[in-house]
């Protein structure tokens, strides 16, 4: 299945794709593993994950067409 990927802030410098192909039934942990394989620099970075605009606090299932965003610490204002 295809996952839409969005990176923000500092992570835009590491992540260069906006689509990731994963086996059907993959979850957010699987996505992170795949991304770290593609972009080893990601492992050292601090970020939260949002699936379809909701941040998650534990491993969460993904579906075809889910939009996953990687959010480094916010620094607005």
């Amino acid at each position: 299945m295809e996952i839409m990927l969005r990176a923000f802030g500092q992570l835009t410098e590491i992540i260069k794709t906006n689509v990731v192909a994963l086996p059907d039934g993959a979850d957010s942990d699987a996505l992170v593993q795949e991304l770290q394989k593609m972009y080893p620099a990601l492992a050292a970075k601090k970020y939260m994950i949002a699936i379809d605009k909701k941040t998650i606090s534990r491993n969460t299932g993904l579906a075809e067409g889910s939009t996953v965003a990687l959010l480094p610490p916010f620094s607005g204002g």
């Binding site: 923000f8 965003a69 916010f74 620094s75 607005g76 204002g77």
Partner: protein, 149 residues
């Protein structure tokens, strides 16, 4: 669930002092308002590793930020007896000395306006998906980090 389209809070570039003055003036017809509390974030020309910040370039995850802001707004109106609240956050480049955040709460009495303004500023800093990239005078940069002060 609230399906209403969230109110936009983002504005391209700096927020002008004249716009702030006009926002204040618009409230003179609301004669039940007794107190306004305003917070303005101004870009500091911080010195980082010997280089001076000339501007901050702001980006956001807009769809998520507007939904989040809408939730924060609803929670705030449940907690405080506000007449109204207006939030404006810059996107793109804002030069040092210019204003990038304008929070404006109004109420009949001062405690609600002051407390709500202080509370929403903390929430914006901590929970709104916005990122600031501090641009130095030589165009190199540093990703901004927010502090609790």
């Amino acid at each position: 669930m609230n399906d209403r389209k969230p109110k936009n809070i983002f504005t391209q570039g700096a927020i002008s002092p004249a716009f702030i003055g006009e926002s204040i003036a618009k409230h003179s017809s609301q004669k039940n308002i007794g107190a306004h509390s305003l917070f303005l974030g101004q870009v500091r020309s911080d010195m980082i590793d010997g280089k001076t910040v000339a501007a901050i370039d702001y980006t956001t995850y807009e769809e998520m930020a507007l939904e989040k802001m809408q939730q924060m707004r609803e929670t705030l109106f449940e907690k405080y007896a506000l007449t109204c609240m207006h939030i404006h956050h810059s996107l793109g480049r804002v030069a040092a000395g210019d204003i990038s955040l304008f929070v404006f709460t109004s109420a009949s009495h001062r405690r609600a306006a002051i407390d709500a303004c202080a509370a929403i500023v903390e929430q914006i800093k901590a929970e709104l998906p916005v990122w600031g990239k501090e641009i130095f005078e030589d165009e190199s940069y540093h990703w901004k980090t927010n502090t609790a002060i």
